[in-house]
Structures are given as structure tokens and as C-alpha cells.
């Protein structure tokens, strides 16, 4: 079984929600990425989304745009991202790792070559922001054959019909974009998210992750009450940038930030309706 599915089941049994931090590979420096990943796991990450930097991150707000620019300036490439994954896997064979990025770097490598390299490195899922399911037939087939979960987004604007079709093709989890906007946008509206999640649940049994706009422990806790997983990205990436000159302190404070979310989520308890 894919590590992602396994992790969701494990936490469901334990009555806890899945916490998914996002960082951009190579930001602020390639050498800091793997230690940061281990620190995130120690602080309570259940799954990690690792951003593959792209020159034109159309769905990202300024924080992750800048992270991409910094990583690219340090010579980060898709192949080097996979080397970092391989390095992480030498110590951590349990934590599921999802690559999040854009289509062109994958196309340039070739879908088959990319999927083979990702599988060999120990990648569990791939979320390609600008690849909607209707254009994804070939990558889905290749990933499925390699045991990698193709992960797709669902948005506030997605119709029930689209949600159904997407859910049929997705594996691992569905990623609900909590607001109309780019990553790092203003606060999400928990009541609106809850309403849409109910609609999505009626379409699928896949676990539902919620991301975009989750910045602090109270929001993480509120979302944990209604979703299966909480994704937090820009808040961590912003902190990493702020402390980039002091790697020790950066790891400590970003880990503390994540741990605070973990704690808030675990204390929030889990209403039985979503206990699965």
C-alpha cells in the first residue's frame, strides 16, 4: 500500500488528523532542505509536501514565488530535488513525501523518466498544480503503475460533476484549495470550507486535505475539526526566509511553529462524524 494511504489510515485509527507542512526544495539553501524535513517530522509532520521550484509559479503568492526564485538562484533543478528526497529517505523510510510543482519541468524531463526517477528516489505522491485531471491521462497511468499517487486540487469553484470526475482519478487524498486565491492569501472562512467539504465528501471516500490560507494554530485546529488533513505552507516558508541567515534558529523556530499547530489540532479533538 502507498505510504500516504497507510498514514491516513493509521492516524484515523489513532483519532488524529494529518498535518502536512510544505516547504520549497532548495530554499533558502539546498543543504538546509533535508535537515529541515527531518525537523518537520520531529515536530509532528505526518506527510510532507516538497515544492519543486519553477520560474513561473502562477498559482503561488509572493512568499512561495520568492522561495522559488531563491531556490533557482541556488541552482535547484528537478533532478536535484529528487536527490534531496533520496537523501531524506536514507534516514526516514516512513514519512510520505509528495512533490508539488508545475508541469513544464516534468514535461522537459519526460513523464516516464520523471516517474521512474521519482519512484526510485522514494516519492509517494505528485501534485502538479497546472495539470487538471482532463489533461493528465498519461501521467496518471505512469504514476499508478509506479505506485505513486497522483494528487489533484479541488477548488471553491469546482462543480459537483468536476469533483466526482477528479475524485475518480485522484489517489492518496484530495487537496481542497480553501479559498479563491493564490497560496499565502488572507484568512480562509471555516464555515464556507465546512460546507464545501460536505459536498466533496458526498462524492468520494478519499481523505480530504485543506490548504491555502492556514497560518496559525487556531485556524489549523478549526480546519482539523472538519477535514482529514491540514496543509500549511506560506507561514512556514515566510519564517524560513526571515531566519535564513541562522539555520539553527530557523529549524528550531519553524519546528516550534509546526509543533504549535500539531498541538492545537490534537487538542481540537475529532468529531465522530468525520472519524471514518
Amino acid at each position: 500500500m502507498n505510504r500516504i494511504t497507510h498514514r491516513f489510515q493509521e492516524l484515523r485509527r489513532a483519532g488524529r488528523k494529518v498535518l502536512i507542512p510544505y516547504i520549497t526544495a532548495g530554499d533558502p539553501h539546498p543543504e538546509l532542505t533535508v535537515p529541515m524535513l527531518h525537523a518537520l517530522v520531529a515536530a509532528g509532520a505526518d506527510i510532507i509536501e516538497l515544492g519543486v521550484p519553477f520560474s513561473d509559479p502562477m498559482a503561488d503568492g509572493p512568499v512561495i514565488q520568492k522561495a522559488c526564485e531563491r531556490a533557482l538562484a541556488q541552482g535547484m533543478t528537478p533532478r536535484r530535488v529528487l536527490e534531496l528526497v533520496r537523501e531524506f529517505r536514507q534516514i526516514d523510510a516512513q514519512t510520505p513525501l509528495v512533490l508539488m510543482g508545475y508541469l513544464n519541468p516534468i514535461e522537459r524531463m519526460g513523464h516516464a523518466a520523471f516517474v521512474a526517477a521519482a519512484r526510485d528516489a522514494g516519492v509517494d505522491g505528485v501534485l502538479t498544480v497546472d495539470l487538471p485531471p482532463e489533461e493528465a491521462a498519461e501521467p496518471i497511468e505512469l504514476m499508478s503503475a509506479a505506485g505513486i499517487a497522483p494528487i489533484f486540487l479541488v477548488a471553491p469553484t469546482s462543480s459537483v460533476e468536476r469533483i466526482r470526475r477528479t475524485a475518480q482519478l485522484a489517489q492518496g487524498y484530495l487537496y481542497y484549495v480553501s479559498l479563491k486565491g493564490v497560496t499565502g492569501s488572507a484568512a480562509l472562512n471555516v464555515a464556507e470550507v465546512a460546507e464545501k467539504l460536505a459536498t466533496i465528501r458526498a462524492c468520494t471516500d478519499l481523505p480530504l486535505g485543506v490548504g491555502f490560507g492556514i497560518k496559525d494554530p487556531p485556524t489549523a485546529a478549526a480546519v482539523a475539526r472538519i477535514a482529514d488533513a491540514v496543509v500549511v505552507g506560506s507561514a512556514l516558508v515566510a519564517k524560513m526566509h526571515e531566519l535564513a541567515d541562522d539555520p539553527e534558529r530557523m529549524r528550531r523556530e519553524v519546528a516550534a511553529q509546526l509543533a504549535a499547530m500539531r498541538q492545537a489540532m490534537d487538542q481540537a479533538g475529532m468529531p465522530t462524524a468525520f472519524a471514518g
Binding site: S55, A59, R108, K180, G181
Partner: protein, 407 residues
């Protein structure tokens, strides 16, 4: 072209319902925009068959834009070059001075139909920004134009025009601070304001239905040119020439002639300092297929798939992608794509100015420079239609500066 002759393709049948020109085109955007694209596609499908919409569009094109634009026989220039007869399709005479307004007039009517209250646009040279601000002023709509900080420096005149027209010009400081980054930023705005906002893309790129919709709004150029050649000279031209940035003025001229397999078609890209220097924007001549800004097409990118920075003396051609239909026309051989350097384009700029008393845009000057190579290889009984996509007033500061003159 040979391939097209062997294997007749009915070009009116492309793209398919999902915007594919064979392997190119499509819709590659984040999920939030997918429904907005479907909504746009439906609205556009209704309008393109609605006689009332088409009548309103025609009236605007006639009375506001000033169409039809003349097809002018450049007799003196033709004689100087000593070959084919050269006809200029005078898009420079349109209101606001370029072909861009054909598209914004159409998209604005559609936006109004859809009940949108806010227009956004990206711009490189500022021509599409001006054309967008112009129609927004006319409809009393809010208008935000995204423009690379770098381009704002280069195109001060158009920035001021947009502001006079009441638009907000939003400088884009991410990435390479040029047109591609302005497009990214406009897409981000659209995601956040998708309920009330209409995104007017300025060329035949972007996700479906933009490449199709913008083509249809611009195809008025080729329909008129075809009709003008037939009614005034009783022949089809032997060749068409147009510059290619995103490719809207080119596809606008080319499309109505695609099924006329005897008409040779040349798209002219910007070779900047020369393709071998790496400082250019010749996407079709030197790029590979990839995915950017919502469609699969040729791109300029590095071996890792990162989009590379481009260079051209003309801001309007300075773009690392190109419309997907051009990618397809290149692959099947129906059109040929060539490249002209900054220096050659400047020569073309001066040549036309002196020979015919018409100051062309630097973008259009790329097409003119290619004509100076092509015409002498043809016979005097043959003819070329070249798209004079815009006038050169916006470029005189650039040209003067290159010649060491301070205005």
C-alpha cells in the same frame, strides 16, 4: 506547406472542443480557474453564433476602431526592392494604433454580456494595455493592467496613456519583470477575483478558449485582406508575412488563408541579438514543446524546464511562448517561421518610413525586414501581403536612444 498539400487539413475544424490543435493547446491551469474557463467558453460559444452580438461587434469595428483597414499597395517600396508587389494591411490605422483593439473590443462586449464589472489585462509593449484601458473607459468598467517593471521603464508613453484612460497600471516585480511575469500576475488576480473579473488576454496564447476566441476576433484582418485582394486585384496573394510575438496579428491574417494551400505563409519572430547569442525571443525557431500559461506550445526554456529570459528590441515580441496554433502550423509545415534580428528590424523600420512615409511599430518592422529578403526572390507579377500590425509612435524613444539621440 508540402505536407499540407499532400494531406489536406480543413483548418476551420481546429481546435477540438477542448482547445487542442493536435498535441498543442488545451487547458493547463490551477483548478480554481477551470470552471471560469468553462463559463467563458459557453458564453463565447453563444455569442459567436448570435446575430445580435455579431452586429454589435461589427458596428464597433466600423465606427470605433475604423474598419475595414486599407490594403495599401506600397508601390515605391516594391520598386526599390525589385521583386514582388507588396501590400500593407494597415492595422496601424486602427484606433489606438495597432491590431490589439480588434480583440479588446470583442472581449469587452463579451465581458459586458457576462455581467462582469472589472477587466484585467497583461501587457508587454503596452499596446494591449492601452487597447484594454480604452474599451474599459468606453464601458465605464474598472481596469487593472499588469505590466513588468522592466517594460514600464521601456514604454513610458503607453503607461501614461493607460493612466489617462483611467486604468491602474500595476507594476510586476517578480521573475524577469517582463510580459511573462505580467501574465502570471494577471492569472493570480483572476484566481482571486474570478466572480466579477474578466481577464482579457492580449494574444492567441493562454488556456482554451483564448487561442480560439482571440483568433476569431483578429481574423477580421485576414478576411478583409482576402476580400480586398480578390475584389481589387482578382487574385490571392502568393505570400503572407506577419510578426509573431504571441501570434495574434499573425494568426488573424493567416487563418482565413490557411485552406488556400497555394498561399505561402511566413511568421517572423524576434532574433534579438542573434539566435546563437541566446539573447532572442524566437520561440518557434529555437524552442521546444512545453507547457506555460495554460497551454502546450513551443517555449524557450532551459534543460530543466525553467522558462528563460528573452530579448528583443520590441517589447511586444519579447515573450518566451507562442500561441499553440502556430506550434501546430509549424509542425505540419503549413506555415514557416523565420527570425529577424534587432538590427535588421531597425533597418526595416527606417526603410518603410523613408520609402512610404509610414512609421511602423518595431514589432511590425520584423515582418517588414523579412519582406526585404523575400520580395527580391519573387517575380513582379507575384504579391505579398504583410501585416503592418501597428504604428511606430510608441517606439521613437527607443529608436532615438539606440541612435544616441536624446529626445
Amino acid at each position: 506547406m508540402k505536407a499540407a498539400l499532400r494531406n489536406p487539413v480543413d483548418f476551420s475544424q481546429f481546435p477540438d472542443a477542448n482547445g487542442h490543435f493536435d498535441r498543442y493547446g488545451g487547458r493547463f491551469v490551477a483548478e480554481t480557474l477551470m470552471e471560469a474557463l468553462h463559463e467563458l467558453n459557453e458564453a463565447w460559444r453563444d455569442c459567436r453564433n448570435d446575430p445580435e452580438f455579431l452586429a454589435e461587434l461589427d458596428a464597433d469595428l466600423a465606427h470605433y476602431v475604423g474598419r475595414p483597414s486599407p490594403l495599401y499597395y506600397a508601390e515605391r517600396w516594391s520598386r526599390q526592392l525589385g521583386g514582388a508587389r507588396i501590400y500593407l494591411k494597415r492595422e496601424d490605422l486602427n484606433h489606438t494604433g495597432a491590431h490589439k483593439i480588434n480583440n479588446t473590443v470583442g472581449q469587452a462586449l463579451l465581458a459586458k454580456r457576462m455581467g462582469k464589472t472589472r477587466l484585467i489585462a497583461e501587457t508587454g509593449a503596452g499596446q494591449h494595455g492601452v487597447a484594454s484601458a480604452t474599451v474599459a473607459a468606453r464601458l465605464g468598467m474598472e481596469c487593472v493592467v499588469y505590466m513588468g517593471a522592466e517594460d514600464i521603464q521601456r514604454q513610458a508613453l503607453n503607461v501614461y496613456r493607460m493612466r489617462l484612460l483611467g486604468a491602474t497600471v500595476q507594476p510586476v516585480t517578480s521573475g524577469s519583470r517582463t510580459l511573462k511575469d505580467a501574465l502570471n500576475e494577471a492569472l493570480r488576480d483572476w484566481v482571486a477575483n474570478v466572480d466579477n473579473t474578466f481577464y482579457m488576454i492580449g494574444t492567441v496564447a493562454g488556456p482554451h478558449p483564448y487561442p480560439l476566441m482571440v483568433r476569431e476576433f483578429q481574423a477580421v484582418i485576414g478576411r478583409e485582406a482576402r476580400e480586398q485582394m480578390l475584389s481589387e486585384y482578382n487574385v490571392l496573394p502568393d505570400a503572407l508575412v506577419a510578426c509573431v510575438g504571441g501570434g495574434s496579428n499573425a494568426i488573424g491574417l493567416f487563418h482565413p488563408f490557411l485552406n488556400d494551400s497555394e498561399v505561402a505563409i511566413y511568421g517572423v519572430e524576434a532574433a534579438g541579438s542573434g539566435i546563437d547569442t541566446g539573447r532572442h525571443a524566437a520561440t518557434l525557431c529555437a524552442g521546444q514543446p512545453g507547457v506555460l500559461h495554460g497551454n502546450r506550445t513551443y517555449l524557450l526554456n532551459d534543460e530543466h524546464g525553467q522558462i528563460t529570459e528573452t530579448h528583443s528590441v520590441s517589447a511586444g515580441l519579447d515573450y518566451p511562448g507562442v500561441g499553440p496554433e502556430h506550434a501546430w502550423l509549424k509542425d505540419i509545415g503549413r506555415a514557416q517561421y523565420v527570425a529577424i534580428t534587432d538590427d535588421e528590424a531597425l533597418q526595416g523600420f527606417h526603410d518603410l518610413t523613408r520609402a512610404e512615409g509610414i512609421i511602423p511599430a518595431l514589432e511590425s518592422s520584423h515582418a517588414l525586414a523579412y519582406v526585404t529578403k523575400l520580395a527580391p526572390t519573387m517575380r513582379p507579377d507575384q504579391s505579398i501581403v504583410v501585416n503592418l500590425s501597428g504604428r511606430g509612435d510608441k517606439d521613437i524613444y527607443t529608436v532615438a536612444a539606440l541612435e544616441g539621440i536624446q529626445l
